[in-house]
């Protein structure tokens, strides 16, 4: 009954569009800025993610079959097809869950295993997931990974099991899993801040990938905190969810097209929390 009352009272709130921030009262909105100019494609972020989040190592055969589990992947694009290999440079794009503000993966889950947290994260409840995999079909970035097998049986042979992160579960077959911006680290930081009766400070903690990146290409922080480095990067590059009038702002609305910031597949209005800074390549005229 009370939930019905709650629904009636808050109805107008549920109907809010993205321009008004959606129906969320965000406490934080964790976001990233990834500088592709700095990215050297070393895959340290991906490896760190494996270690931090107990990702299963599936082995070459299963990888080839498309059963891989990397929540963070570094994609290579060969964008100068007219050149041969040593001269032709690859561009790298580290891709992980974009923690969309209007996540297409969320409404389609039949059992609400994936939902939006007050932190602006797209959370995945492994215990609730029944593995319909609709979320992956509807994620335009294809960054959700499915446990095809009981990987725990083979992925961490003794003594590798000793390196598993105790802050996290090891998922079994049949569930969908994905990047959560290292939600366990976020939790720890928030708990600590709460104990000390303060807000989480910028730079107090970071995700495993950002921590491992040797060139500091990945910046992580709270987009709700006007002082955080990430917010400043987003503002400088004029990538923003809404403009001063509160209208949604897109790539096209940038006043200065020279700026390098963009979000992937922004035209789909998924409102990703990850901003990329374009790679600039020196070209000989």
């Amino acid at each position: 009954m009370s939930s019905l009352q709650n629904l009636i009272n808050n109805w107008s709130q549920y109907r809010k569009g993205i321009e008004e921030g959606g129906f969320h009262h965000y406490e934080h909105r964790w976001g990233m800025a990834i500088d592709l100019n700095a990215c050297i494609g070393c895959n340290a972020c991906s490896t760190a993610c494996y270690a931090e989040n107990n990702l299963a190592v599936v082995g070459p055969e299963r990888f080839a079959k498309g059963h891989f589990m990397h929540w963070m992947r570094v994609e290579r694009y060969w964008d100068q097809p007219e050149k041969e290999f040593p001269e032709q440079g690859a561009s790298f794009l580290p891709m992980m869950c974009q923690q969309c503000g209007a996540a297409p993966c969320e409404p389609v889950c039949p059992v609400v295993a994936t939902y939006h947290t007050p932190d602006g994260l797209n959370a995945q409840v492994y215990n609730r997931c029944i593995g319909s995999r609709y979320c992956n079909n509807n994620c335009p970035y294809r960054v959700r990974y499915f446990n095809f097998w009981s990987y725990y049986e083979s992925s961490w042979p003794e003594p590798l099991n000793m390196q598993l992160n105790p802050d996290l579960t090891v998922r079994d077959k049949g569930v969908m899993e994905k990047c959560t911006f290292c939600v366990q680290r976020i939790r720890t930081a928030k708990d600590k801040a709460k104990m000390e009766n303060r807000k989480v400070k910028d730079g107090e903690f970071t995700t495993a990938c950002a921590q491992a990146c040797p060139t500091n290409a990945i910046h992580f922080g709270d987009l709700m905190d006007p002082e955080s480095q990430v917010t400043k990067l987003w503002a400088t590059h004029q990538v923003s969810r809404v403009d001063e009038q509160g209208r949604p702002r897109h790539e096209q609305d940038k006043q200065n097209p020279e700026l390098r910031g963009y979000r992937v597949l922004e035209e789909l209005n998924t409102d990703p929390s990850v901003m990329y800074l374009e790679r600039v390549r020196e070209t000989l005229a």
Binding site: G66, V108, P110, V111, R128, S132, Y134, F146
Partner: protein
Amino acid sequence: MKDIAIHSQEKDIREDLPWKQINTDILRSLDNPRRGYWYSIIVCLVLLAIGFTAEVIQYQHGMGMSKNHPHMWNLYIATFIFWIGMSHSGTLLSAILHIVHADWRKPIYRFAEAMTTFSLMTALLFPVIHLGRLWNFYWVVPYIPSRGTWPNFRSPLSWDGFAIMTYLTSSALFLYIGMLPDLAIARDNTTGWRKRLYSTLSLGWCGNDRQWRVFRKAYMLMAIFLIPLAVSVHSIVSSDFAMSINPGWHVTTFPPYFVAGALYSGCAAIITLFILLRYYFRWEEYMTLPILEKICKLTFAIAMMWTYLNLVEFASVWYGHDVYGKEVLWGKMTGAYAPAFWSMMFFGSVLPFTLAFRSLRRHIPTMMAVSILLNVGMWLERWMIVSPTLSQSFYPWSWDVMWPTLTSWAIVLGSFGWFGLLFLVFVKIFPSVSMYEVKEMVYHRKLATEKAAARVGGAAPAYGAHMKKEDAV
């Protein structure tokens, strides 16, 4: 007189069929089918065993037996839509044609309804089989959970659950209600366990006026209820795709397109089963060629509707500004799936023209082959809906082509065994031609001829004069 004799050969049912013979002929199906029937049962059992083994293996080891990234939906979902689609013509034939008083449906609608029910029961297996943790499938059902975790009412997958369950319940009820008078006939003509079964099931039917009145009302109500339901069920299945943002799926023509496809494959399946039943139980008297011709014409009309909707969809993608959608369409036509695409177009849009020729329509082996091929085409259509979009979505990194594994093929084969077995057992246990309606039909034909004869001027005998009292049931 000779003219009339030739003319009556062309009628969809013989007018001088005594009512008693109708009962005997149809109840005969309960004991002695042709040997082909038993062969079919064996084939179905083998298929079912193969499918069941594959499912057990998949359950043990995980979905890796059949799927990969990014093809999270694949053969199972395509086959799911296929079976759901198959279920639609039972309703079309029995409910819609009942409402518009198309008499010719009467000898054949019972098995079509059974087909609806059983293909729904087969379809229902697939979303469950394809789940990663299928032992938790009931979480999609809105039972009252103690922790307040409801299913997600925004997800088309949970709408699917409601729609299919409603459709299954109502079509099973429809089948049962329509069978009541026949169950009573069967009760009066059998012994042993069958007698006990039919006595229970016929709910004390004795055929008095009040029962008939109530029965007619209930049957009509169910028919009226089922038509919008059938349309909405397949529209909801199409929402699984249309409500997503994927290129090639996010299309507004999907609901009518799916419904047309459903009616199409259902009609083709009816032709196949029609021919099989006619053969198994020697029902040439009831499942006559003129009736076959009528279903063929209906199928042809629906095939053209389907073709039209296909062209509409292609055209709207082609002339629209959706680059991704266009890429997917082009990929279907020229990419790795092109053979499947063009076979679908051939089987779905070109092959039905065989149905337009009278001589071919009346040729049973040809019709058998054509109806099976039409369904192959419709199965390919489902495959072409599901796979290419996942192979070639927004994100080039995840582009990939995949073919199903042996395990998934085995499970799909198993589903055919499961459906076939249910259907074959049904036709052996229940009268699968509606006796009371065939009698009505004979009566109507008789009346019509008598009227015609009276118009010509000959003195027509009063209807029923030739009938002995015990013929009437």
